[in-house]
Symmetry: C2
Subunit: 401 residues, 2 copies
């Protein structure tokens, strides 16, 4: 890790972001409050970050020349997704560029097997897991731990992609084959009560801010709803918070991390860690003293972290997912375009949704909608979880995309 040089005006730093999607967009909206200049690298001309950054380098994520050009223009580099070329980031660090979260922490986290090993070695409770080379290995583990088993590709999975369930010895071959040719590992099946996540941020000075525990509900392996605070025992909540703080020290991460966990009664096990602001932390924009995006920007710029405390009684975040394909760019929206900015895929019902008390709407501005694509989200705040939940549900009933 390269420590930043003493800078009397840290706000003069230029921030480079690899990835121009909704996470990058929400980072930029915070960075702009402090007048940071921002350059984005993303292959999509009309990506959500286009039009709010100072420069948009339109290039593939694995284009090393483009990454070098980004670094040339910026003082610090961050990213909004973990499946990027960590080798390119290592190279930047070698040349003295600051990259947060660091390339070395990314290298471990983006390999889910190494990630789990690091967590285990760091004393973090995780489900039992083991390396697999073949379907035969899966069958051996199934006999040992019992069926079903969950198989996970070591790299590249997200939103349930890269995971497979082997329900019995007979299914082991098919499940392993469904993951493609990459390496994978097996994990013991956990009969959890619920999935939760804890967002945590680590500053350059080693200080850690831990957000409240949220409950996550998935459908088709995609996050649909986060409810904060999570309805779990005080003991489990304390465990989850402590574990998230510990995870930040294991990886020596700088910036926001999302720590996904399983809760079984009072017991908490870590499922997965994401080295970036996390979908389950979007509620923090309206509900906490400092949002996950504000703290991420503070962290990567070497500024002190803000309080992660909630200012409202409860918050419920609902993802707004595409229902089907829309026409691509250049069709109906073509004449409606301003300076290359995307014409967002239409979202209907905003009016009715915003009429519900305590509801804020976020539309990412993607040109193309597709089934289960994350197009936006809404957050409802309330005095109680019940109130926030009712408001979120009422608002969601109006939204069509």
């Amino acid at each position: 890790m390269n420590n930043p040089p003493a800078n009397p005006n840290p706000l003069s730093q230029r921030i480079g972001i690899i990835g121009g999607g909704q996470l990058g967009k929400m980072m930029i909206l915070e960075a702009r409050k402090l007048s940071f200049r921002v350059v984005v690298l993303d292959p999509t001309p009309g990506c959500p970050c286009h039009g709010i950054c100072d420069e948009h380098i339109v290039a593939a994520f694995d284009d090393r020349e483009a990454i070098a050009a980004l670094a040339e223009k910026c003082d610090v580099i961050t990213y909004e997704f973990e499946d990027i070329d960590a080798g390119a980031l290592l190279e930047l660090e070698r040349r003295g560029k600051r990259v947060y979260p660091t390339a070395s922490s990314l290298l471990i986290i983006q390999d889910k097997f190494l990630q789990k090993q690091a967590l285990k070695e760091g004393g973090i409770p995780v489900p039992e897991f083991a390396c697999c080379g073949s379907a035969a290995d899966v069958r051996v583990l199934g006999e040992k731990w019992g069926w079903p088993l969950i198989l996970k590709a070591r790299r590249g999975g997200y939103d349930g992609k890269g995971n497979a369930v082997a329900g019995s010895a007979g299914e082991a071959g098919e499940a392993a084959a469904s993951l493609g040719r990459g390496d994978f590992f097996a994990e013991k099946w956990i009969n959890f009560d619920m999935e939760v996540s804890v967002l945590a941020c680590r500053g350059l000075d080693g200080s850690v801010a831990v957000y409240p525990v949220g409950m996550n509900e998935h459908r088709e392996s995609i996050l649909r709803r986060s409810t904060v605070p999570a309805p779990i025992s005080e003991k489990a909540a304390r465990s989850a918070s402590e574990i998230a703080g510990k995870v930040m020290r294991v990886f020596g991460g700088v910036g926001m991390f999302g720590v996904e966990m399983f809760v079984c009664g009072d017991e908490v096990l870590v499922n997965e860690v994401a080295p970036r602001p996390h979908n389950s932390g979007h509620y923090t924009i309206e509900s906490c003293v400092t949002s996950q995006f504000a703290n991420h920007i503070r962290a990567v710029a070497g500024l002190p972290l803000g309080s992660p405390e909630m200012t409202v009684g409860a918050a419920v975040m609902e993802n707004i997912l595409g229902s089907g394909e829309t026409e691509g760019p250049g069709s109906a929206g073509g004449q409606n375009r301003i300076n290359g900015t995307a014409v967002p895929a239409p979202l209907y019902g905003a009016e009715a949704a915003l009429a519900v008390p305590g509801v804020s709407l976020h539309v990412y501005g993607k040109e193309r909608s597709a089934r289960n694509r994350k197009m936006g989200h809404l957050t409802a705040v309330g005095r109680t979880v019940g109130e926030a939940r009712g408001r979120a549900a009422e608002a969601m009933r109006s939204i069509r995309i």
Copy 2:
């Protein structure tokens, strides 16, 4: 007023903003959350809105062709300051363009004498005032109301500019002359306990959202600090809120208005109305369910208003003003420029300020600093006014600009 056509997707509207300063910037950061496309008109190439809007028309505010070009590109037009060519806006409305606040309300508000008359006729309590043609008129009023008197230019004043105090009959001539050649009027001097303001927003449907009462402290006629809630009697607070709601109905305004008032015991008098988000409402970004900028965008886009309720116990906003001239654009920052974006004038001490709990910092990104120029602000939240005030003061001690 032109009512908007029924639009199943109001988020597809393009918003035009006249003025690219900090108020425009904070409007855009909210508009972007909903993926509105935004075009700005401002004569300064590196103004705070540059780099976050889809297009920046670099033109003078009185350039009617540029205003027409802005309207051509947009579905709805709003503005961040009131001293603009209302005739040009009337012309846009005549051609069927939506302008909020409406040109007719702006025409009355931007003439402080007509504004006061409209308030009085609407049953709003205001200090005694009367039209003046000359210093002789001032002397007559002084004999009637007692000295001192306050003289106000009918048009163009802000931050104390356009105001003069005549302490006695002998000073009437000099005070009147200091206002230049424009028309002016006189107002009875009010020995107020404090100045307060109430932000209010009116939606297209006529609904009104009224924010809590804030106390404002000025120095050299420039707002320095707003404290919310204001330490006034319950009766005065109720009066102030009711008056603000009434003011919104008097002008039929659409969008955010700032209503400045004097408090004398339980009595409340309106001093001035600004037809836009107001400096004293910046605290709403961190402290209310819906910020003044979010509600302004909702209002001009014809969306339902959000709750103005506070989510924190108290908030204190401090303006960060320039202490002296900095080098202009193109000097030291020239090589540091990205795609024409301004290199903001340096601000020192952000690190120490952000280390104070509950503090958020906003830097407007202006290239050139000047004495008393508004360069940024900070908001401290806390459980009590005392806590927020202490935090704000501590943070301000570190800031140097």
